[in-house]
Amino acid sequence: MTTDSAHAPSTQRSAESGAHPAGSRRAGASRPRRPRNRDSLAGYVFLSPWLLGFIGLTLGPMLASLYLAFTDYNLFTAPEWTGLENLGRMAEDEKFWGSVRITLIYVLVGTPIKLAAALAVAMLLNYKAKGTGFFRSAFYAPSLIGASVSIAIVWRAMFSTDGPVDGTLNLFGINLGGWIGNPSLIMPMMILLAVWQFGAPMVIFLAGLKGVPAELYEAASVDGARAWRKFLSVTVPMLSPVIFFNLLLEMINAFQVFASAYIIGSGTGGPGGATNFYTVYLYTRAFANNQMGYASAMAWVLLLAVGVLALILFRTSRSWVHYAGDSK
């Protein structure tokens, strides 16, 4: 979740740059670049610590893993080139497809619910009432700690047999037993855990809501629009860039769920493989089974799959994301 909070300030910066006259963005793009410009040299010098880190800690390992993806590498002996064998194995690996299915359910069900919760609470907090500052912080807090190991352990205890959740449900005559050991209830629990961390998208939604001009609502009221119509015809279109941003980020985040799944599933994808998320399976292949080549191939398949999904989102966004200033 730290990636989200790190991006929050960047939206502020873009807000400042948004103060430039409309159209400057397009002008900027067509301006010829001068790489030998002293300003840009200074810029790169200041960037160098990050650049070094990026090349040494991100780009280098990424290239290494790209190579390993086409090898059989058990960590102990030198990698052995096997070409596309890892991909072939993946296609026939039932556990791999199981992990793909689980991860897609988590992403496709969990992300919309999380965003809906974030938007709903953001709209409530957008009303000027006493204590909204407190509630804003209170709702944001879980997203700061949600990905931590301790929270996963607490949730594990909460959803065990005779734990607080089971106990409360029993009061209402619902006897589900523990969720942790039940392969069909563990996914709803994982999604709940994700939804509970709606704070980061909520804060971004809230910022977006504050930017919707009040006169649009007033005009809509004059035309006789009720709350639901105002939501559909004013809030959603005006908020669509923010919705798109949140959707993209949350989707990418959801694909990477690891720590909570690892802890809750005892690191083995338990119960019965129900928490064998893509990343958990990748980790198991790499570090429990010593199949680094296979794991690297999995990592690249994930990267490409997420890239393709992001591309599809970008493509479809043209029809539903409304940027103020665009001519449509």
Binding site: S10, T11, S14, G18, R25, L57, T58, P61, M62, S65, L75, F76, R89, E94, K95, S160, G177, G178, I180, G181, P183, A207, G208, K210, G211, P213, M238, P241, V242, F244, F245, L248, I252, N253, F255, Q256, S266, G267, T268, G269, G270, P271, G272, G273, A274, A288, N289, N290, Q291, M292, S296, A299, L302, L303, V306, G307, A310, F314, Y323, A324
Partner: protein, 430 residues
């Protein structure tokens, strides 16, 4: 404010988020050997797997070692068994294994054959005393190029029971060494008597040791001499199917075990019995808080067959890349031979392999029970299987995971058997 996001910002953010997906590796570090100088301050990293009970014992042992060698400081860390090996694997690839490690026979070939472990033979009689260790036990740490680990002790497969828990049920304790039917009846009686609050035992087909026991009772081994699986997919499916009746209503449900993991059903007082290695006694006492835990022989289908064996499990090993091999050897020697360490650990690392340590251990109470148990089954102790094949650790874990999945009903025994064979083909083939 509604202009805050341009398409370009979004593209940039997406690119950043995507790079976050990349896997990162880990760096290594070179080192040079240094002589053991009594003046020099040396710090050794030591790591082990286990529970709080074992950690407390190690703390005492390290204290005693540091008192003997004031210039050596031991930094110790511990985790549970599966993550222990995940960590070592990463360190092995990065060249950063701890100086000294609690080791497992299962992984000896993988690490020793790849030059990751210190050849302790170079320090025999010169830092490490081997006189007090029986030849056959010492030989378990031997590979083609040298001796890379020394066993702390040995154990044997056994049935544990919790008399305190059993007393409440009114069921007679399982006598041990009888037929499987009798053990099954015992487990069923306990579960019936409590109405399912406490169970008679845990699924006896779940672990690869369960299968090994049954194979050995038929005079067979788990692996062929060539290191291939010595049973068929159909036999494995049948093995898992045998547990069906017990899983349905006798043994502790897997869903409950998932919740208490990494503690076992017996450790969490959910069952009155469990099969495991005899050196688990100390851990079980710690986990369950029981006053007493008894230990008897596993059931058998063939009392004349030598189905059990002295299993070397826990070992001590040092990293080939340690900067202080002499100090590391001294610490290994201390852990293996010191009577003081024997007194601290008792039989919790197995019945001590070293005579001097065994004397110091002065086994009493539960540890004495382990030794008495090992004495009692001497008729059933046969030849130990050959050193585990490379990758046995992964195979063992896969077997167990599939056994658990069968318990949860997410796979059938047939599907699980197929998955196991597919998996083993990859692991053993590489």
């Amino acid at each position: 404010m509604f202009r805050i996001l341009s398409r370009r910002t979004l593209t940039g953010v997406a690119a950043l988020a995507a790079t976050g997906l990349a896997l990162t590796g880990c760096g290594g570090g070179g080192n040079e050997p240094a002589a053991l100088d009594t003046e020099e301050q040396i710090t050794l990293n030591y790591t082990f797997w286990g529970n709080d009970d074992r950690a407390a014992r190690y703390d005492k042992a390290i204290e005693a070692f540091e008192a003997k060698f004031p210039n050596i400081t031991i930094n110790d860390t511990f985790t549970d068994y599966p993550s222990y090996w995940e960590k070592r694997q990463t360190e092995a690839a990065g060249g950063g294994l701890p100086d000294v490690m609690q080791f497992d026979y299962t992984y000896l070939r993988q690490y020793g054959d790849n030059g990751l472990l210190l050849n302790l033979e170079e320090y025999f009689g010169n830092g490490i005393t081997t006189d007090a260790i029986e030849e056959s036990l010492l030989a378990t740490g031997k590979l083609e190029d040298g001796t890379f680990a020394i066993p702390t002790g040995y154990s044997a497969w056994s049935v544990f029971q919790n008399p305190g828990l059993l007393a409440d049920t009114g069921v007679e304790p399982y006598a041990g060494g009888t037929s499987w039917e009798e053990y099954n009846t015992y487990m069923a009686s306990v579960t019936d008597a409590t109405g399912g609050t406490v169970y008679g035992g845990t699924d006896t087909t779940q672990r690869i040791q369960d299968l090994e026991l049954k194979l050995r009772q038929d005079g067979r081994q788990l692996f062929t001499e060539e290191g291939e699986l010595n049973f068929t997919q159909e036999e494995l499916a049948d093995h898992w199917k045998e547990g069906e009746a017990n899983r349905d209503k006798v043994t502790v449900p897997q869903s409950k075990l998932e919740e208490i993991s990494p503690v076992s059903g017996f450790g969490a007082n959910l069952t009155t019995s469990e099969m495991s290695w005899s050196n688990f006694l100390g851990g079980y006492l710690g986990d369950s808080g029981a006053e007493e835990i008894t230990i008897v022989a596993p059931p058998t289908s063939n009392p004349d067959e030598k189905d059990l064996y002295r299993k070397v499990g826990l070992m001590q090993a040092a990293s080939a890349s340690t900067e202080h091999p002499e100090a590391a050897a001294a610490f290994v020697d201390f852990l293996i031979n010191s009577p003081e360490v024997g007194g601290i650990f008792g039989a919790t690392l197995g019945i001590p392999a070293s005579e001097t340590q065994l004397e110091g251990a002065d086994l009493q109470g539960p540890d004495k029970a382990v030794q008495d148990y090992l004495d009692s089954i001497s008729d059933r102790l046969g030849e130990a299987p050959a050193a585990p094949v490379a990758g046995f650790g992964a195979i063992e874990q896969t077997f167990w995971d599939l056994g658990k999945s069968i318990g949860l009903g997410t796979v059938t025994p047939e599907e699980a058997a197929k998955q196991f064979f597919d998996e083993a083909a990859v692991t053993l083939g590489s």
